[in-house]
Amino acid sequence: MKHEDTPLDRLLAAARDHAPFAASDGASALGFETRLRAALADGAQGASSALAECLAKLSWRFAAASLPLALAAAVVLALSHRHALPDGVGGIVTQWAGLFPVGI
């Protein structure tokens, strides 16, 4: 790929010929199969927790970006239902309780 011959190029060329963690024998291949089968079995059992894992992996940046959006969505929903924001905590509770399908 590279056609220059700088010290860095020579270093990369030497590093290219080294295979890290190269030893791979039959025993480790068998271990690989066993581990893979166990992981597949775990995956089948834990499929329902995929969403929870996905949420758990979300970064704090995503959370920080989502919070204002969630607040804006709440305000829009509130306005669209009552055309005005309620006064105080009691008003908010009363307003949102009205949105539930069951009587509170």
């Binding site: 790929m1 295979a19 963690f21 690989f32 893979l36 995956g43």
Partner: protein
């Protein structure tokens, strides 16, 4: 007493089944077919993943994670591209995800797995030692690059894959690969001078 080695016969029959058949079976959820495919491609995936892991257990975890991604992605595999190319694409993207998710931990931890030093085939082999030391030095430089830069240098300069192949594996455009490689090499050269390695 008549004896018939069924294992050998089964192996022979299995070896006559084309790969596309194994892939189709695995895509339908047949675990044995998938494990067979995984065992077949393990060495290739492991060889690429080894450029990103810093210890043997970390490498084994990364390889397993890649194959789990392959398993989950198999139903979406379309046979218009060779299976090997598809599996290597999943592997490269798995390595990239691994680099991104482990960047902070990698910055804090010690750099090399001491077991690597004990595993030279012949400790007296000067050339093998020189290659290993070169790899360790390159690792120091690569650890200071961001995930995309490290990925592009690894694929182009260490695995000697072409620009087109790198673009296909990463999902980036060829122009993007070239620009990123140029910038990454410049960063590496600067680091090389900064660390006094050219002395």
């Amino acid at each position: 007493m008549f004896f018939f080695d069924t294992t050998r016969a089964t192996r022979k029959v299995e070896s006559e089944i084309p790969e596309s058949e194994w892939v189709a079976r695995a895509a339908k959820g047949e675990e044995d077919a998938f494990v067979r495919l995984a065992s077949h491609y393990r060495a290739r995936v492991r060889s690429t993943a080894a450029r990103f892991a810093r210890s043997r257990p970390e490498l084994e975890d990364l390889v397993q994670e890649i194959f789990l991604k392959v398993w989950r992605g198999l139903p979406g595999y379309r046979s218009d591209a060779p299976f090997e190319h598809w599996i290597m694409t999943v592997a490269v993207r798995g390595c990239y995800d691994f680099l991104r998710s482990n960047r902070r931990r990698r910055e804090r931890e010690t750099l090399y797995d001491p077991s690597e030093r004990r595993e030279d085939a012949d400790p007296a082999d000067e050339r093998a030692r020189a290659r290993r030391e070169a790899w360790e030095t390159v690792s120091v430089l690569l650890d200071r690059l961001d995930a995309k830069d490290r990925l592009v240098i690894t694929l182009l300069d260490l695995e000697e894959r072409g620009v087109r192949e790198t673009a296909a594996l990463t999902g980036w455009s060829e122009a993007n690969v070239k620009v990123r490689a140029h910038r990454a090499r410049k960063k590496m050269r600067d680091l090389f001078h900064e660390l006094g390695l050219d002395a």
